[in-house]
């Protein structure tokens, strides 16, 4: 694992934990404000939904690595080495291609419909700065989570395909690979 790789992974993990912690804080604050102080965060529900979108799409790549995206391994387990690897490569190519397509269309979609400022952030900025509040980032940045997440996921699957090809070349089986990398079907 390269240094860049390590920094990237650690950074992404920390970001996920931060997103979860923010979600928890906002929701708890809403309960306390409403019940305890008879006041309310008007923007909390919307903000939480957006945080959930980001958290979900960013974490998908790790969910894939940790084997939390369920798949059947019955056929692969019962096939000989080469056909099993070939099947894994076909599945990987299809999955990666789908992720790529979704990343592309997701980007188009975000561009097409994301031109307005994010309402929740506008409210927060307005509460802080009053009428001189700066413009909030646009909804594009909410939806951008999808192309980003899909791209990371697609790249991660592509790395797996490379591993399958190497295993094919040097005589290892799919099971050897799963044991050494903790890849899919672990």
């Amino acid at each position: 694992m390269t240094a860049f790789h390590l920094v990237f992974r650690t950074g992404l993990k920390a970001l996920l934990v931060m997103l979860m912690a923010t979600l928890l804080t906002v929701m708890t604050a809403q309960v306390i404000m409403r019940y305890g102080f008879n006041s309310s965060l008007l923007w909390s529900e919307e903000l939480c939904r957006y945080l959930l979108i980001w958290c979900s799409f960013l974490a998908m790549v790790f969910a894939f690595e940790r084997g939390e995206i369920a798949a059947l391994s019955i056929l692969a387990d019962s096939l000989p080495r080469v056909p099993a690897l070939a099947l894994a490569i076909v599945g990987g190519v299809l999955s990666a291609a789908m992720c790529g397509a979704l990343a592309w269309y997701g980007y188009l979609y975000a561009k097409l419909v994301g031109s307005q400022p994010i309402p929740a952030i506008s409210f927060i900025l307005g509460d802080i700065f009053g009428s001189s509040a700066p413009a909030a980032p646009t909804v594009f940045w909410v939806y951008f989570a999808l192309p980003l997440g899909m791209m990371l996921l697609g790249l991660r699957i592509a790395i797996n395909i490379v591993h399958y090809l190497r295993a094919w070349a040097d005589g290892r089986t799919l099971q050897d690979l799963a044991a050494s990398h903790g890849g899919p079907g672990q």
Partner: protein, 425 residues
Amino acid sequence: MTLYLLSFLGFLIIGIPVAFSLGLSSIAYLIVNGQMHLMIGFPQKMIAGIDNFVLLTIPFFILAGNLMNSADLTRQIVRFAQMLVGRVRGGLAAVNVIASMMFSGVSGAATAEASAIGSVMIPAMKRDGYKPEYAAAVTAAGSILGPLVPPSLALILYGVLTGTSIADLFLAGIFPAFALCAGLLVYALIKARREDHPLPPEVPADERASLALKAVPALLLPVIIVGGIRSGVFTPTEAAAVAVVYALAVGLLLYRTLDARKIFSSFYEAATMTAGVMLIVAMASMTSFILGIENIPREIAAQMLNISSTPWVLILLLNLVLLLLGLFLEPLAALVLVMPILNEIFPLLGIDRVQFGVMVVLNLMIGMITPPVGLCLFIVSAIGRTPLERVAVAILPMIGIALVILALVAFVPFLTLSLPALFPG
């Protein structure tokens, strides 16, 4: 539509993950039908599927379960269950079931329950000489108690999708959960006699009081949640966040077993587990959109009405459709898919919304423990390091028990409706 189904099964069999198989079938459908201009709707449906405030309960209920587990609560619950069961043949299997029942008051999802109880109970049962597939199967069967006892993610989602009182749903799930728990216990004890399962070790008398005390936090959470919702302190969605704060407080202040590293990894793991669920919900939203274009929900509803308009036959048919879907799909995704069909048919059933909700949720939870795609089965077979096929065979009798309870829920209103009537809102 046949194309969609066949391509989905094809992708699934060659080992492509369920979520990707759904997505690839959607794309295949668009290409074959010359409707690629709708592809821009795919990301929209994915985001719309996730952009739902109720789904915020997923990360929080998973997180609460993770924290309780890291705080060693699971082991405390198991020890307490051991104390209750005492020295009975097949005791550990019974302990597993009872611990699952107690843990269900902490976890909102069956998967969280399967991994928490499984990580403690399956190794323990294996050490005691139980077959790994049996240890895994009992855990998986017990895990579906989780969504029947408050808190429950699936019941909340049903409540919001149908406008049913969530507090009522929470109360309604409790008796069926006890019934299922009793059924599993009886099965475990009979099997223990027949196969001469080992006796568990005795819990020393001087430990009993402290064990009981340490199990209290788990038993208290469902009370706090139902009470908090009923009295208007928080909404059912917010209850999930309250559960996390509670878990943090118990772990940091009472048990003093949580530290920064454990909290960090609990948060991280909850994020990834959430992402796994969300990916499939997102993909199912696109499937649901295509089904809508094809008018499938209305057609299925019409077909069912063609067969019969007698309520109990319809309920039976509906359960079959749900069980079928549950074979392949994760419950939340399945719920998203079937809701339009349910809305068409529900008025003809002459059944209470609350009773119906518990039925739907129990039904879809059974799907979590059936092959080919059952997330709880996957989890326990991974923990038990035993092949999925063997676990799937070992769990069959327990699925039978769950089906009996399902029939009771569907046709005996008392089981679900007596508790909500006793504690009206």
